[in-house]
């Protein structure tokens, strides 16, 4: 089990760090549909907060590839961490 977790994490890191720069930049299904029906622009300026790494970019990194790759890497580890942390909390509550 441990082996599959570690290899799964390494694989995810490789995807997010090394492969994400090669992702297609075409609009996704919903964006394309919104473009076809001419309503894509109604979401402009509607964000009610500013996320720190909007568009999966570390804006403080200059390198155009690295700014996305580092954001991807951070996201992968953060998502793993948050589930692990929350899972342990639930586990502690279960045993009580």
């Amino acid at each position: 089990m441990k082996k599959i977790i570690i290899s799964g994490l390494i694989f995810s890191v490789i995807l997010a760090f090394f492969i994400s720069p090669f992702a297609s930049i075409f609009p996704d299904g919903l964006e394309k549909f919104a473009m076809n029906h001419k309503f894509l622009d109604i979401s402009e300026g509607k964000d009610i907060f500013k996320a720190p790494f909007a568009d999966y970019e570390f804006t403080f990194i200059k390198n155009p590839v690295l700014k996305g790759s580092m954001a991807g890497l951070t996201g992968v580890l953060f998502v793993y961490g948050i589930i692990y942390w929350f899972g342990k909390i639930l586990l502690a509550k279960k045993t009580k």
Binding site: D28, H37, I42, V79
Partner: protein, 210 residues
């Protein structure tokens, strides 16, 4: 398929925020009762993989891309409640850290991809596995991945129509047809991951599904 803020009417996102909060509470309650220590890292790595794979848009039609969603995969691996929680966690992180999907529309995105895509995908898998009488399990996995995307996109289409943006029928046909193509990628990736796990470590798939 992440809906940004501005697309949905207040009533629509408001109702879906309430539904998603209720569903999350129920899922946390259900998971808490049956959680096992060794399932926690598996849930974590599933979420990490989904997050990474969602960054990898692949071209599907001229000028259109799609990416893996992971709803069916997480629910087949972990069960409908935990799979839904994993999916919702990814969506919450994407919203708060990466501005992917609106904050007000977060409930709608959790509803579409978590409740419909993940928990729904699980039951599609269970039903097709039964229909195919345990044979052709890969077909059941593929159908689950493919349909989970189409159904999630149909839910999104209905929400856009309720919000008065696009009439219902063209909305469902438009969203459904694009996502029927994206769903093929979803089905193939889901089959690839499940088959790989069956190949290397059966016990991962034999943990209790919550």
């Amino acid at each position: 398929m992440h809906i940004p803020d501005g697309f949905l009417s207040t009533k629509t996102w408001g109702a879906l925020d309430i539904i998603s909060v209720l569903a999350l509470s129920l899922a946390i309650f259900k998971t808490k009762n049956k959680i096992e220590d060794k399932k926690i890292p598996l849930a974590g790595v599933t979420a990490a993989f989904i997050f990474a794979a969602q960054m990898l848009n692949f071209p599907v039609l001229p000028g259109t891309s799609g990416h893996f969603m992971g709803g069916a995969l997480s629910a087949i691996l972990l069960g409908p409640w935990t799979g839904f929680l994993v999916m919702a966690s990814v969506l919450i992180v994407q919203c708060f850290l990466f501005q992917d999907g609106g904050l007000l529309a977060l409930g709608a995105n959790i509803f579409n991809m978590g409740i419909i895509g993940s928990a729904g995908g699980y039951y599609i898998y269970v039903i097709f596995k039964k229909v195919l009488s345990g044979k052709y399990e890969k077909a059941a996995v593929f159908i689950s991945g493919w349909l989970s995307i189409i159904l999630a996109s149909a839910a999104c289409a209905i929400e856009l129509s309720i919000s008065g943006i696009v009439p219902l029928i063209p909305s469902i046909i438009g969203m459904g047809s694009i996502h029927a193509a994206i769903g093929i990628g979803e089905g193939l990736i889901t089959v690839a991951v499940i088959s790989y796990l069956q190949e290397v470590r059966m016990d991962v798939l034999e943990l209790a599904k919550i």
